[in-house]
Amino acid sequence: MDIGAIWDIIILKPMINSMISLSQVLWGSFGLTIIILTLIVRGVMYPLTIKQLRASKAMQSLQPKLAALQKKHGADKEKLAQEQMRLYKESGVSPSGCLLPMLIQMPIWIALYQAIIRVMAVNPESFLNLSHYLYSWPIVYEALPLNNHFLWLNLATPDYLLAILVGLSMFIQQKMTQAPVTAGASPAQSQAQSMTVMMPLMFTFLSMSFPSGLALYWVTSNILSFVMQYFITGWGGLEPMKNRLIERISGLLSRKKFNDVTTRVIHSGDKTAPDVTSGEDDVLIGDLKNDNGKDEDGLAADQATIAKKPGKDKSKSQAKKGKRSKRK
C-alpha cells in the first residue's frame, strides 16, 4: 500500500464522509458545511493553535533584542548565532516552538482542502472520482449531490468579491501575527513585511481562478485565525493601522460635530450653542487645521503624528519640516 492510499484511508476519506454527512444536517448546504467543518476542525486544533500563537508571541517579544544582536554582531555570523541561541535559552523560548504545532496541524488543513475540492466535484470526472472516497453509509449516498449555491455564490465557480475578501482577511491575519515594525527592523522583519502584502495578493489572484467554495474555506479560516490571534497577541502589527483609523474616524466625527454647531450658531442664532472658540472645541479647530495641513498649527500637528508613529525616522520628519519652511 503506497503512502497516498494510507493518506486516503486514514485522513481524507473520514474527512470527506464527515463533510457529506454533516451537510445532511445542514439542509444540504455545502457553503454552511464548509464553514461549520472549518470551525469544528479549528476547535479540535485549538490547543495546538494556542501553543503556536503563544510561542509566536514570545518570539515577537524577543525581536528588539534580536535586532540589537544583529546590529552588534552582524558581521560575525558565528558569534551572532551563538548569541541568539544564548538569548533563546535565557528567555526560555524555543525557535521551533511555533513550528512544531504548525507542522502537526498542516496535514489536517491539507486534508480539509482536498476534501472540499473532491466533494465540490467541479466537473463530471471529479464527481465520478468522488465515488472512490465514499463509505457505504446511506446518509452519504442520500446527501449527494450537495447544494453548491450559498448566499450569492455558486461554490463551483470563481467569485471576485470573495477573492477580495480572501486577500483582505489574509492581510489582516498576517499583519496581526507580526510585531509592530520598529526603527532598525531586522532583515527578517522586513522580509516578513513584504510577505504580508505578497501573500494576500497572490491568494486573491488564485481565488479568482479557483471555485469560490475554496475561497470560502480560506476566508472562514482566516477570520477564525485573526479572532484567535487577537485574544492571544492583540492587534500585533495592525496596531499602528488601527490607531490611524481611529484618529481618522474621530477626526471626521469631530469635524461633523463642529460643522453642526457652526451651522446652528450661524443659521438659527442659537445662544445656547457652545462657544466654538474655547475649551473642548479648540481641539476641533485644531483638528480641522491638521486635516487641511495648510498653516503652522497643522504642520506642528503633522509632526506630532509622525513622531508618534513607530518606526518613522525622526530625521525624515525634520527634513520635511525644513523643506516646508524653505517653501514658506
Binding site: 470526472e125 465514499l134 457505504s136 449516498y141 442520500e142 449531490p145 463551483a156 479568482m208
Partner: protein, 381 residues
C-alpha cells in the same frame, strides 16, 4: 548587494509557494476534463467524440481515419485555467440516425453532421445559461431530444435543428433520454424520473417518480416499464404509463445483497433479465418482470462503463481497463484483454465486435467479444 539577495529570496519563496498552490490546486481540483464519449457503429464506420474535442469517423474494418471535425471550444475557465472548461470536451456518445450523426459537447452545443458530405448544423441549447451536454441525444418522432446540465430537456427538429420545446427538471441532466410511445423519459440529478409528452413537452405524470439519489444512468425501457438505476444504490421499475413503482431492488433496506456503491452505468437487458453493473465490482442480474435477484457476477473492480451484448455474451469494462466477457447462462467470466488505462466510456458494439474508447489512452480498440482478439487499435493523436 544585501538587498538584492533579500529580494531574490522573497521572489524565490513566493514563486515556490505559487507553484505549490497552482500544482496542488489544479491537480487537487481533481481530475482534468477529458470527456467519456463512447463509440457508435455505422455500416462502414464508427463514430466517437475524441478527448481532443473532435467528432472522429474511423473505418470499422481496420480503424483507419476517415475524417474528423472540430467541435467548438467552450468558454475559457479561470485565470489559471484551473476551474471550468476551456476546450471542447465530449461526454456524449454520438447517435447515428440515417445519414446524420448527432452529438453534444461540454459547452452545451448540439451538432448534426451528415456523414456523406460532412455538412453540419449546430445549435447552442441555452444561450442565457451555461450548461453542458453529458448524455447522448435521442432521436424519435422526427425530433432530437437532449438533456443539459442547466436542468432542461430540450426538443429540436431533427432535420433543421429548430427549437421545439424545453422541459425544466430540478437538477442537472446527465442521462440520455429514453422513449416509450409518445413519452420521453428524462432522469435528473434532482433524484427524479420525468415522463414528458414528445409533442407538447408537457408532463405526462401528475408527479415525477422520486428516488433517494441522483440518476446518472439512462432510463431503460423494457416492455411497459422503465428501469432506472439510481445513485441511492437501488434499481427501480416504474410503470411507463402511470409513473407508479412496479418493483425495486433491493426491496428492503437490510438486504445483504444490496449494492454497496453507486450504480453509475446504464443497465442492459437480455433474455428477460436486467444486468446492472455496480461500482462495487459486481453485476446484479435481476429478473425483469418481478425484480427478483437472479444472480451476482463478481467482477472484483468498479464498473462505470455501460456494458454491451456481443452475441449472447455480456461484455463489460472495469474502470482500471480490464475487459471481461460473461457467459449469461452460467455467469462465468473470462478476461478478454487488459488495456491498462482508465475506462469510463460506454462500450460500443457491432455484432461480435466490441469498440472501446480509452479517453485517457487516446485510443480506440476493436475487440472480438467472444475471443478477445484485438482486431485493430487506432491512436487518436
Amino acid at each position: 548587494m544585501h538587498n538584492n539577495k533579500r529580494t531574490l529570496k522573497v521572489i524565490l519563496l513566493t514563486s515556490l509557494l505559487a507553484l505549490g498552490l497552482i500544482v496542488s490546486g489544479c491537480v487537487g481540483m481533481g481530475t482534468a476534463q477529458s470527456g467519456w464519449s463512447g463509440v457508435v457503429a455505422g455500416s462502414q464506420s464508427v463514430y466517437l467524440g475524441s478527448g481532443a474535442g473532435k467528432l472522429v469517423a474511423l473505418n470499422s474494418d481496420n480503424g483507419f481515419y476517415q475524417w474528423q471535425e472540430d467541435l467548438e471550444a467552450s468558454a475559457a475557465g479561470g485565470g489559471l485555467g484551473c476551474a471550468g472548461a476551456s476546450a471542447a470536451v465530449v461526454y456524449s456518445t454520438p447517435v447515428l440516425y440515417g445519414e446524420t450523426v448527432y452529438i453534444g459537447d461540454g459547452g452545451g452545443r448540439l451538432y448534426a453532421f451528415n456523414v456523406n458530405d460532412r455538412q453540419s448544423k449546430n445549435v447552442v441549447l441555452n444561450t442565457g445559461k451555461s450548461g453542458a451536454i453529458i448524455g447522448s441525444p435521442l432521436i424519435a418522432h422526427e425530433s432530437v431530444y437532449v438533456g443539459s446540465t442547466d436542468g432542461n430537456l430540450y426538443a429540436y427538429d431533427a432535420a433543421s435543428l429548430t427549437y421545439r420545446w424545453q422541459y425544466n427538471t430540478g437538477g442537472e441532466i446527465w442521462a440520455a433520454p429514453a422513449v416509450w410511445g409518445n413519452s420521453i423519459f428524462a432522469a435528473s440529478f434532482d433524484k427524479k424520473l420525468y415522463s414528458i409528452d414528445a409533442e407538447s413537452g408537457q408532463s405526462n405524470w401528475d408527479e415525477p417518480f422520486e428516488t433517494n439519489g441522483p440518476i446518472i444512468a439512462s432510463p431503460l425501457v423494457y416492455g411497459d416499464v422503465v428501469i432506472i438505476a439510481s445513485l441511492d444504490r437501488h434499481v427501480y421499475a416504474v410503470d411507463a404509463e402511470t409513473g407508479e413503482l412496479v418493483w425495486s431492488y433491493p426491496a428492503g433496506d437490510n438486504d445483504e445483497n444490496a449494492p454497496k456503491r453507486w450504480l453509475w452505468a446504464t443497465p442492459v437487458t437480455g433474455d428477460g433479465k436486467i444486468y446492472i453493473p455496480g461500482m462495487d465490482g459486481k453485476v446484479y442480474v435481476i429478473e425483469a418482470s418481478a425484480g427478483g435477484l437472479e444472480g451476482i457476477i463478481e467482477i472484483g473492480e468498479s464498473v462505470a462503463s455501460t456494458p454491451v451484448f456481443a452475441g449472447n455474451r455480456l461484455v463489460l469494462a472495469t474502470e482500471s481497463g480490464k475487459i471481461y466477457s460473461v457467459d449469461t447462462d452460467n455467469y462465468q467470466k473470462i478476461e478478454l484483454r487488459n488495456i491498462d488505462t482508465e475506462l469510463s466510456s460506454p462500450l460500443g458494439v457491432d455484432g461480435q465486435i466490441v469498440f472501446v474508447h480509452s479517453v485517457k489512452g487516446n485510443t480506440v480498440y476493436a475487440i472480438n467479444g467472444e475471443t478477445g482478439a484485438l482486431l485493430w487499435s487506432t491512436s487518436l493523436n
